[in-house]
C-alpha cells in the first residue's frame, strides 16, 4: 500500500516521461517525487491565477485601448456628451486615442471616455 496515497490520477503530462521518471535511490521515493510534483503544479496553478487577477486589477482603460490598437479592433466609444464614436483604434497617446472610421480620424481625450463597447455583430 502506498503510504502517501494514490497520486497517479493527477495530470503529470507536463513532466518528463509523463511523470514516470524515477528519483534515483529508494523505490519509495518514486511516489514521494510524484506527490511533490503534483503539489508543485497546484502551487503553480494558484500563482498563475493570482497573476491574472493582479493584472486585471492593475489594468486601465488605456491598456484596453492599447490592446484594441494592436488587434486592429473596432469599438464603440461612448463619450461624456452621450454620443457614440465608432471605429478602429488607430493610435493611443498618453492622454488620447485616435479612432478611424471610413478614413475619418477622430481624436478623443481619454478623460472624456465614459464606456467602451464591442459593436454588436
Amino acid at each position: 500500500m502506498d503510504p502517501l496515497g494514490d497520486v497517479s490520477g493527477g495530470d503529470v503530462s507536463g513532466w518528463p516521461e509523463g511523470g514516470r521518471d524515477r528519483l534515483h535511490g529508494h523505490p519509495d521515493l518514486d511516489a514521494l517525487g510524484r506527490r511533490l510534483r503534483l503539489e508543485m503544479d497546484e502551487t503553480l496553478r494558484a500563482e498563475q491565477y493570482a497573476a491574472r487577477v493582479s493584472a486585471q486589477r492593475r489594468s486601465t482603460i488605456r491598456d484596453r485601448f492599447l490592446l484594441a490598437e494592436d488587434r486592429a479592433e473596432s469599438l464603440n466609444v461612448e463619450v461624456v456628451d452621450g454620443s457614440d464614436i465608432h471605429g478602429t483604434i488607430a493610435a493611443v497617446g498618453a492622454d488620447h486615442i485616435v479612432v478611424v472610421h471610413h478614413g475619418r480620424h477622430c481624436w478623443v481625450a481619454l478623460q472624456h471616455v465614459v464606456a467602451v463597447r464591442r459593436p454588436t455583430p
Binding site: 503530462s13 503553480l44 498563475q48 491574472r52 491598456d63 488587434r71
Partner: protein, 132 residues
Amino acid sequence: MRPSLATVMSPRPWEAGLVQAAVDTGLVRLLARCYNPVDLPIVDAVVAGSEVPWLTVDGIRRWRRAGIAVVGMFPLGDRPAIEMFCRAEVDQLFCDRADPLVILRAVRDLVSPRLPTERGSLNRGRTAGTHR
C-alpha cells in the same frame, strides 16, 4: 510589419516586463496574455515560461505545427525546463532574466523573414537557439 505576439500569463517578473516592453516600444503587436491554452489567438509568436503548469511538449509542438514561433523562458539553472523546451523544439530559448528588449527583437527576427510567406511551412530547417 510588426509581428503579432502572445504571452502566457505568468506570475514571474519576466512576463510583466515583456508586456511592458512591448507596450512601450511597439516592436510587436501584443494580442493576448493567455491564461488557458484556448485563449491563444492567431499570432506569429508566443512566449511561454516553464512555470506554466499546463505547458507540455505536445502543446508546444501543436503551436509550432500551426506555424506559431515559440519562445521558451526558463529559470537559470533549471535543467528539466531546458530539456522540456528542447524536446519540444522551441524556436528560441531565453533565461528568464534576459532583457525584454532582446527577447522582443528575437521574436521580430524569428518572425519577420516568414511574414510574406505562407504560414505552416515556415519552421523547417530552423534550429533552436539559447540565450542565457
